[in-house]
């Protein structure tokens, strides 16, 4: 069973690392649309897939995953926006968990936008 003692150990380990995290203004942001429309379209497994892939690659200090509201394009949900400091924001639409490893690898790691998943490609 998970115990509070275990949580204390996590705290002590995190303290040693936490300064690194705070000093990272260059962290990329993954924003998953999680309003009624996004949730109904399956945003939760998408958010979980991002967290899993980013954790697996040990990138949790460089990339934060969070939720955002409805941005008004409900027909394209699940919508994921990726913000990398100094670059234009990219909006991926109709994202499925299977697409996530490619987005993480190509876009977040190698800085090549996965054009075929973006709103520009889908709406044309």
């Amino acid at each position: 069973m998970k115990s509070l003692a275990e949580l204390k150990a996590i705290r002590d380990k995190a303290r040693a690392e936490i300064d690194l995290r705070k000093e990272n203004p260059n962290a990329a942001r993954v924003l998953v649309g999680m309003a009624t429309c996004g949730i109904a379209a399956g945003a939760r497994p998408v958010l979980n897939a991002f967290v899993e892939e980013i954790t697996k690659r040990g990138l949790t200090k460089d990339i934060t995953v969070t939720q955002t509201g409805c941005i008004g394009i409900c027909q394209y949900e699940p919508v994921v926006e990726i913000e990398i400091p100094g670059q234009e924001k990219v909006t991926y639409v109709k994202v499925a968990p299977e697409m996530v490893p490619k987005i993480v690898n190509d876009h977040l790691v190698n800085k090549n936008v996965v054009t075929e998943y973006t709103i520009g490609a889908i709406s044309n």
Binding site: L7, I18, T36, I39, N48
Partner: protein, 184 residues
């Protein structure tokens, strides 16, 4: 919504937007009384009497970016289609309590789904808000209270990856415990 846990996530985000500091989610699942009761309570800004009476209307929303608000009406429908009930009580400046009751054996019952995932995502995405999650079955009960975790963590944020991992495991193990280890 495919799972009630998604309705919970949706409505809990209304609490977040209402500037709640504490959101309390309880899920009481009883085969004995053939009921599932979900409550979501917050200490956010609350609503006026007039807003409360309009909130189940799909064409009412406080948002200005669009003209419909489906979160609450969908949640209400999910309960009423099982012969259950839906209730919202709210007071301006005090907060809002939503109570939803289901008749579990009804053919139109939506599965609860992965409520633990809902809770861990809410904590992950709102690390400055406190959540108290209590899950009860006929076999037992457990509570996750982020205020207690904060005492132990002494300033280490709740959205630290290892802490979130701990929370997910805590929820998983305790859920298995109160469901007798059966697959959910």
């Amino acid at each position: 919504m495919r799972e009630l846990s998604l309705n919970v996530m949706d409505v809990a985000q209304n609490s977040v937007r209402a500037d709640a500091h504490l959101v309390t989610i309880t899920v009481t699942d009883s085969d004995k009384s053939d009921s599932l009761i979900i409550t979501i309570a917050d200490d956010g800004c609350g609503m006026t009497e007039e807003q409360v009476s309009q909130v189940t209307d799909p064409f009412f929303t406080t948002r200005t970016t669009r003209k419909v608000g489906l979160g609450v009406p969908l949640f209400k429908l999910s309960a009423e289609q099982t012969g259950g009930s839906f209730n919202i009580e709210s007071e301006l400046g005090k907060g809002t309590v939503t109570t939803v009751t289901y008749v579990k054996s009804h053919v139109d019952m939506t599965p609860l789904g992965d409520i633990n995932s809902t809770v861990s995502i809410l904590i992950r995405c709102n690390p400055d808000i406190d959540f108290v999650f209590t899950r009860t079955t006929d076999k037992g009960s457990f509570t996750l209270d982020t205020r207690e975790l904060r005492v132990v963590l002494e300033g280490v944020p709740l959205d630290t990856p290892d802490v979130l991992e701990w929370i997910e495991q805590f929820l998983k193990e305790n859920t298995e415990n109160i469901y007798g280890g059966a697959e959910l």
